[in-house]
């Protein structure tokens, strides 16, 4: 976990320190504005496996997925529409005094969404919303002490 954070931080710093130009329309660079964007989702993606039977156990799992999918965006100045495909895989083995859950989960997801940039600076802040459809399978075995269920 710490290695991944350090690696992505160093990578971000090295690439950011070499970047001078911007693809955004408001920036001073006069080269053509690039409308298409293809993104690879990587790094730290926290993914929570659904709890077994009880909402009380819902927050107990968190997995890191290093690469989860690809994303395409089409920009229209400050607005963008996006289409994404994600695949999450998690293999888990939780074993403590009061709860055990062991197995694996896979979920595929299709997303479509809208975004709007609301800053003029090089660092572009944006907000948006996505609609998604996901389907998957969770195959495992679990047990808990009676007072938790």
């Amino acid at each position: 976990m710490i290695r991944i954070i350090v690696f992505t931080s160093v990578l971000f710093y090295v690439l950011a320190s070499s970047g001078q130009n911007c693809h955004c329309p408001e920036f001073k660079d006069k080269r053509p504005y690039l409308k298409n964007e293809l993104g690879l989702k990587m790094g730290i993606n926290l993914y929570r496996t659904p709890a077994f039977r009880s909402p009380a156990l819902a927050d107990r799992l968190g997995k890191i997925n290093f690469i989860t999918g690809i994303n395409y965006k089409r920009h229209f100045n400050r607005n963008a529409i996006q289409l994404g495909l994600n695949y999450y895989f998690s293999k888990f083995n939780i074993d403590n005094y009061y709860y055990k859950n062991e197995g694996q989960g896979k979920i595929g997801e299709l997303k479509i969404g809208y975004e709007r940039i609301f800053t003029n600076k090089k660092l572009q802040l944006y907000y948006g919303a996505d609609l998604s459809f996901a389907t998957g399978r969770l195959k495992a075995a679990a047990g808990a002490m009676a007072l938790l269920l």
């Binding site: 690439l15 964007e37 293809l38 090089k122 948006g128 919303a129 996505d130 609609l131 195959k139 075995a141």
Partner: protein
């Protein structure tokens, strides 16, 4: 404690408000980070327990899931 097997097939429809930023790395590359909350409308079907009462029952829930933190982008 005894372990109980489960084999859940899930279908989910989701709506995710998102807040993020994009930072250019040169002309063609950028990185972006975003946080989202996801409201889902879902159904589960446990094939280990075909007669379970909550099989194929549509429910809704709010997750911080997935919390997508980083992506590397290519512009063209």
């Amino acid at each position: 404690m005894t372990l109980e097997p489960y084999d859940i097939y899930t279908k989910q429809f989701g709506l995710s408000p998102t807040l993020g930023f994009n930072y250019p790395l040169g002309y063609r590359f950028s990185v972006s980070m975003e946080l989202s909350i996801r409201w889902i409308y879902y159904t589960n079907n446990d094939r280990e327990k075909p007669n379970a009462s909550d099989n194929n029952k549509w429910q809704n829930n709010i997750f911080f899931n997935p919390l997508q933190l980083l992506s590397v982008n290519y512009h063209f």
